[in-house]
Amino acid sequence: MLTRLHTLAQASQADGEFRAGGTDLHDRLRSGVSDGPLVDIIGLPGLDGIDRQDDGCEIGALLSLDGLARNPDIVRDYPGLAQAAAGLATPQIRRAATVGGCLLQRTRCAYFRHPDLACTRKGDAACGGRKGVHDNGVIFDQGGCAHPHASSLGMALLAYDGRVRTTEREMSIADLYGGGSAHDRDHLLAPGELLTHVLLPPPAPGERAAYLRAISRAEAEWPIVESLVRLFVNNGTVTEARVAAGAVSQVPLRLHGVEAALVGRPAQAGTWGAAAARAGEGANPLPQAAWKVTMLERTVLTALEQAAAHETVQTQTAG
């Protein structure tokens, strides 16, 4: 069954799974992992733009990832976000996939995607991967599902202090995903709750950012781990930092230990190494995934070095 939404007001009554670009959903429909009624939202008006104001930026949930990655305001003021969007999947996917869909996509765990295997996110009691194969599994384990969250964009927005607006409420990105203990879901929106916008605060003067994914093929590769780093440097000293990591836990994570080790330190090589060494603080990796702790430290280190080498964001006043 298919419903098409033309106004936001219809959302709450709609019965079924929302479909935006369909790039995640149709993979699941084809393999038989998902079925049930669909509610197509691509026709909702006014949700595919970017509105850059002095006090931040509002991004429509139906904007394509390609549109996000190429938008001049985003490239200039939120370069890490643009890099993250440009670095994931393939050009064709980025053209069809939406910001909302990327945030709310379901896990890419092979157990979840396989129609014949058990998985808590499909409603089964136990996670197959936890007992079975999880060499790409979580290293900050919140229990339940063994596979990390899929969204690169969610991770990036965490580092940008992003918020989301839905048809019901407004909340932080962290609250969109919660603590990772809801093992049957990949986000905490209620059925019928539609994500309409992503909201970003304005960038800070003097900030630099870098996004990095550890991959072993050149393109179109899901990351082993990924990280987004924002550094705020004043007179050669790091005054503030945001460091987020993806593919490491059931939800995207902020690495507070790394941030604490950066603030107040000189913006120079020794600082990056010392801070990155704290990336694995608090990690409780699944056995086969333990090697990813080293990968995380090294990925964060590299992202810090790259951010430090990047131009600072030249914040401009919009309009």
């Binding site: 369909g22 084809r30 691509i42 064709q92 550890a214 393109e219 090294r298």
Partner: protein, 890 residues
């Protein structure tokens, strides 16, 4: 709902879950657009939506509303785009299954590039970024790079015909080529297979009543043979034919199977464990074989099959003593170690597929197969038919790589269902089924040793190879190594470790990559102990052989080799160059026949062989061109039909060596007959066959004209058997340096340059130089394509590809193209092909096969290059970042 497809309005009422590709292929019947993954990974389904490439497999059908959709059919043979011309000219394709996707993405890229950058030549990286959403399993990436760059530079502007080397490229770049998955016979039903839910179980009962009662279900068929026993998860149990895929899928869920579940051993590690379950109970003669040759006589000990004799071992006791002595510090340099290779999946982009139709007692099967002729025999045997009552056809095959040589589940299901339904049935494996259940290259655990004397000459070799062929026998890496290694004391042993995973099949150069991965790396290490560099140690390893020595001279002179110790990269990104020598046996099929005939319209070659992208059509047409000078594109080809004269399997690197000589001779004889006719009928004086036509006193009469003037002629020729010593009829001819009469070997040397990111564990192959000594290169463009794809597929084996099983259930976790990682265009190194063509003059046309030769040594060369770069020796393929990060200290 209304959309525009290729400029025409198209109205339809979409279903909720319908995608654009369903509309395009099923409703509009435009089968140029392919589906190879259905997941947005491979790009085979790319179409232009308002000018931008989009994965039609994921695009909801209703999103087509009001959009302008363009498919490859918009660029037919009269409206070729420069990108299509460039792909044909640059060999940017083999099997062609991925080609429509690359064409559409290429066109979009080209048009945007020209608008923004004019005739500037795009870089490799720019092309790779744009093509990142496309996979080509044949790995025609280097041709694709060149094609797109040339087209952007304007080289094909205003050109309206340039056909390039491959005679069927035009059908492929235009989407005209029809593959088995594209067939739609009148009344055709869709078949799906219910697969076993357990890895080892007895099927007690199957209840299909609910499924049969479902609206739209036409027939069911029992696919269980072998005493109701299933021995791997995913083994076919029952088939359903229904009006469409979705109905058949729904019906599968309604079938109830009652199993008696037995303990299983999943993978070789479980099968070798102390208290391992018995994977195979029953008559082992019925066990599948992963071997192309007859499986070795085997002594069974639980799950382990020991090869009773190893015919290529030689004084193994001496070898053992010498290894022990060397270990004790006397008697030369010893390198030994344990190595592992994971299974690699064929992953042809066209999945396994068959369409079967019965007419009275006659059966016609269209199948994606590497061997139409043999498939007919297998079908006749299985279904109790006379051969002449079975027809097998296959015009275009979207890749095979060894995985489509026999009669498999999907074909059996199609035949049984078609018989039960009284209608044609198509069975197409889903990507999950294809990556899970349709075969793979065996995995292995090898234990090897190399002992060299102080002078560097080999003293002893050991290879104990445990093969993981799933629920099959027939691995023979040690036996094979015996054939391609020097004749010294060698202790060679093959064991196959049978377990409850799908049976393995041969894959391009079966068993050799793993044997060389072990032995060529150990050879480097042993050489190092003696202070011998890799070239020198290989010179001394084999008895003197001119061909092999020329290859070593060539490698030694390569600037990258010479300077390899100077170009070491930096602290983090370390560079290294490594080499591996390889060798392969020469096969051809002496029973092959071809018929060359002509009538007033043209010349036709008939043979029951097929073209899976290897270029059989082109090899045959080129033989005619070489023999009588008729342009290869003018030769009509009647292939892929089992009732044509016997053709070779597309495997064992034997196609060209089997078909070229008889085609050449037949064309010559046909020309001679035409000369006689023409001289008589047209009164041509001093007529003789010349290049391109009949030369006579008054000039040259082109073949086209000759044919119009002559009566039809037909000539059949057989591949003549080359005779070995004592006049023995042998498929293989003598090699002076081989102890085995009848084996003639080809040689290769692979030199690979890698860059290792020691921090994040990524290995980037930068350059591969492949030296091939396989005699004369009859079709140079195809040979280069084989070298390129051999190198890139070898990279997949070395660096990315790994079939992973769920250890408790036996399902396959690497069952989609995100998790089963094929090399993409950005992963393709530069490949430099070098052909040393002399030394095989005693063989017909001086040429032996080379397709497998081009890939078997690649992984070993990568291992040696990584070692050169980092000082760390990889032991396992694929070499994943985890191993690098754990192995290399920084």
């Amino acid at each position: 709902m209304r959309t525009t497809i290729n400029g025409e309005f198209f109205e339809f009422e979409p279903d909720a879950a319908e995608t654009a590709v369903d509309v395009i292929r099923e409703r509009a019947g435009l089968t140029g657009t392919k589906v190879a993954c259905g997941q947005g990974v491979c790009g085979s389904c790319a179409v232009l939506v308002d000018g931008e490439p989009i994965n039609a497999c994921l695009m909801p059908a209703i999103h087509m509303e009001g959009r302008d959709i363009r498919t490859v059919e918009a660029h037919g043979r009269d409206e070729l785009h420069p990108v299509q011309l460039a792909l044909m000219a640059n060999e940017g394709l083999q099997c062609g299954f991925c080609t429509p996707g690359f064409v559409m993405e290429g066109i979009a890229f080209h048009d945007r590039w020209r608008a923004e950058r004019g005739r500037e030549r795009p870089t490799r990286d720019e092309i790779a970024a744009a093509m990142a959403g496309h996979l080509c399993r044949c790995a025609a990436y280097l041709g694709i790079y060149a094609a797109i760059a040339d087209a952007c530079e304007g080289e094909f502007d205003g050109v309206n015909q340039r056909l390039g080397p491959r005679v069927d490229a035009l059908e492929k770049v235009t989407g005209e080529a029809r593959y088995t998955v594209d067939l739609a016979l009148p009344g055709q039903l869709e078949g799906r297979i219910l697969r076993a839910a357990h890895a080892n179980a007895r099927v007690l009962s199957v209840d299909t009543s609910a499924a049969e009662a479902l609206d739209g279900v036409v027939a069911v068929a029992d696919l269980l043979e072998d005493h109701r026993q299933v021995r791997f998860t995913g083994q076919p149990v029952f088939g359903v034919a229904a009006v469409d895929w979705a109905t058949a899928e729904r019906a599968l869920k309604l079938i109830e199977v009652d199993y008696e579940v037995l303990p299983a051993a999943i993978g070789m590690d479980q099968a070798l464990a102390e208290s391992a379950a018995k994977a195979f109970v029953g008559d082992r003669k019925t066990m599948a074989s992963a071997a192309e040759q007859a499986p070795l006589p085997t002594r069974w000990d639980g799950n382990v099959g020991h090869a009773r004799i190893n015919g290529t071992s030689w004084r193994p006791g001496t070898a053992r003593r010498r290894v022990a002595a060397a270990r004790g510090g006397s008697g030369g340099a010893l390198a030994e170690g344990a190595f592992r290779n994971h299974q690699q999946t064929h992953a042809a982009l066209e999945p396994h597929a068959a369409v079967a139709a019965w007419e009275g007692g006659r059966l016609t099967v269209h199948a994606s197969t590497q061997n139409v002729h043999h498939l007919r025999t297998l079908l006749a045997d299985k279904f109790g038919l006379e051969k002449q009552d079975v027809q097998v056809e296959s015009q275009h095959i979207g890749g095979g790589f060894g995985g489509k040589q026999g009669l498999y589940g999907e074909t059996v299901a199609a035949v049984k269902l078609a018989r039960a339904a009284g209608a044609p049935v198509r069975v197409v494996a889903s990507r999950l089924e294809d990556l899970s259940y349709t075969g793979q290259r065996s995995g292995s655990r090898n234990e090897g040793a190399v002992v060299l004397g102080e002078d560097g000459a080999p003293r002893a070799l050991r290879l104990h190879a445990d093969g993981d062929a799933g629920i099959a026998k027939g691995t023979a890496a040690a036996l094979l190594y015996g054939l391609i290694s020097p004749w010294v004391a060698k202790d060679l042993k093959d064991r196959v470790v049978v377990n409850n995973t799908p049976p393995a099949l041969p894959m391009r150069g079966p068993d050799a990559p793993s044997a060389l991965w072990t032995m060529e790396q150990l050879l480097d290490d042993a050489g190092t102990q003696l202070g011998l560099d890799p070239v020198e140690v290989r010179r001394r390893f084999m008895p003197k052989n001119d061909i092999r020595d020329r290859l070593l001279d060539w490698a030694e002179a390569l600037p990258a080799w010479r300077d390899r110790d100077a170009n070491r990269g930096d602290e983090r990104f370390r560079r290294g160059v490594g080499m591996a020598a390889a060798s392969w046996v020469f096969l051809y099929n002496p029973n092959v026949e071809v018929t060359v005939s002509c009538d007033s319209d043209g010349l036709t070659v008939a043979c029951s062989t097929q073209d899976i992208g290897n270029g059989t059509r082109t090899s045959i047409a080129k033989a005619v061109e070489d023999a009588i000078g008729l342009d290869r594109h003018a030769v009509r080809l009647d292939l892929g039909r089992a009732d044509a004269p016997l053709g070779p399997v597309t495997g064992g690197s034997q196609v060209t060596a089997s078909v070229y000589p008889p085609t050449y001779r037949a064309a010559e004889r046909l020309a001679a007959r035409l000369v006689e006719q023409a001289a008589e009928r047209l009164n041509l004086r001093e007529a003789r066959a010349g290049r391109g036509g009949i030369a006579h006193a008054g000039g040259v009469m082109p073949w086209e004209e000759v044919l119009r003037a002559c009566e039809p002629v037909s000539v059949t020729e057989k591949r003549v058997t080359e005779r070995g010593p004592l006049g023995l009829r042998l498929n293989m001819s003598m090699d002076p340096d081989s102890p085995f009469p009848g084996f003639r070997r080809s040689h290769a040397l692979v030199v690979t340059e890698v860059e290792v990111d020691t921090r994040l564990g990524r290995i980037r192959p930068l350059n591969v130089w492949t030296g091939i000594a396989a005699g004369r290169i009859l079709v140079p463009e195809l040979a280069r394509s084989q070298v390129f794809s051999g190198a890139i597929q070898g990279m997949g084996y070395a660096l990315y590809e790994k079939k992973v099983y769920e250890p408790a259930t036996g399902h396959v976790l690497s069952s989609n193209l995100n998790d089963y990682r094929l090399p993409g265009i950005g992963d393709a190194p530069e490949v430099h092909a070098h052909f040393d063509e002399a030394g095989y003059e005693d063989v017909a046309h001086g040429a032996i096969g080379m397709s497998e030769l081009a890939t078997v040594g690649v992984a070993a060369s990568v291992g040696n290059a990584v070692h050169h770069a980092t000082g760390w020796r990889p032991h396992e393929t694929p070499i994943l970042p985890q191993a690098v990060v754990e192995g290399v200290s920084i």
